[in-house]
């Protein structure tokens, strides 16, 4: 998906760098990367360093960086295209659990057309593009890091470290703390749920799961609307 856009925009001066936020490391991301056959750098962030560095709270998130290494758009939801399942009817023979999950997923707001149009404009016009934000606006949008969010980052990192050491029994408590301290961080929740159940479904060890939390906030609030001005 991103490779097509890379083929289009690389001659005009854009490079794409994908970063897989995966506690499971290269092996978790490998099937997707090998299928995509990217010509661009496709990196692995096993420790979720990028989340903390840029303030990313869900995926996919895109950050724009100009030729001088200056961030001109902070993290925001970045879909390259409208995923095809959204426009297809849900199969009538789908089990009720799956049907409900698909209904919720269809209700999630995604705005790939808007995002990609803005990206093309920036690649063509650089700092003259109205989508390239001023430093003050970039910093305003990223916002402050309260103590709870900083502590959540420390707890999440500890949870991941313990998980990789094979101490899942100890990791869970730190993941739960991270979830409690920064409830709007979907990355922390989805990653931890996945380690307990690949479908991010209900388990005995977490108080929430993907379906329950998306129901709670409403699928339309799963991603913040793009502020393209």
């Amino acid at each position: 998906m991103w490779q097509e856009l890379r083929t289009e925009l690389h001659p005009a001066g854009l490079e794409i760098v994908t970063v897989a936020l995966d506690t499971g490391g290269a092996e978790a991301a490998r099937p997707w990367i090998e299928a995509a056959k990217p010509e661009h750098p496709a990196l692995i962030d096993q420790a979720h360093v990028v989340d903390e560095m840029f303030g990313i709270v869900n995926v996919p998130s895109g950050v724009w960086i100009d030729e001088e290494g200056i961030i001109v758009r902070p993290p925001e939801t970045a879909f390259p295209e409208r995923t095809r399942f959204r426009d297809r009817p849900i199969p009538t023979d789908a089990p009720p659990g799956l049907r409900h999950r698909l209904e919720l997923a269809k209700g999630i707001r995604v705005e790939p057309e808007k995002y990609i149009a803005a990206l093309r404009d920036w690649v063509a016009h650089g700092s003259a593009s109205r989508y390239a934000l001023s430093p003050d606006e970039v910093l305003r949008r990223v916002g402050p890091r309260p103590m709870d969010a900083a502590t959540a980052a420390a707890e999440f990192e500890l949870g991941q470290h313990l998980y990789r050491l094979g101490r899942t029994d100890l990791a869970v408590g730190h993941f739960r703390q991270a979830h409690r301290l920064q409830p709007d961080n979907w990355t922390y929740r989805r990653q931890a749920w996945t380690l307990a159940d690949p479908d991010q479904g209900p388990t005995d060890i977490y108080d929430s799961d993907w379906v329950r939390d998306v129901e709670r906030i409403g699928p339309e609030h799963y991603y913040a609307p793009l502020e393209m001005g």
Partner: protein, 112 residues
């Protein structure tokens, strides 16, 4: 930053947190936070964490510590992109800085 002990080398601290230890204190970009004088080459993480407003979380059964990012400030202290260095599938480390001169779309995704 995962720690097995609360004394760390200044270079390790800088590599992981972005704060460099200078005579005038702990510095990031144009900001410097004074630190008390130290007798040892190593940093006492508790002191630095307190001065910089970084949370320090313990895992008692293993004796490990985790130092979080500084709180009460901005997530980004500057619009200059941090020099991200991460491996690809084959373990080769790529530096974001090597793309100076190009526009970059940094895209975070996940397999889950």
């Amino acid at each position: 930053m995962i720690l097995e002990q609360l004394q760390v080398a200044p270079d390790d601290f800088e590599q992981r947190t972005g704060w460099s230890i200078k005579p005038q204190g702990a510095c990031k970009g144009e900001m410097c936070v004074p630190l008390p004088p130290r007798k040892d080459v190593l940093l006492d993480v508790r002191v630095v964490a307190d001065r910089l407003g970084m949370p320090l979380v313990a895992d008692e059964p293993t004796g490990l510590w985790s130092l979080g990012p500084e709180a009460s400030g901005q997530v980004l202290t500057s619009v200059e992109a941090p020099d991200l260095a991460l491996p690809d599938l084959d373990g080769r480390v790529f530096h974001l800085r090597s793309l100076r001169g190009s526009k970059v779309l940094l895209l975070a995704w996940a397999s889950w």
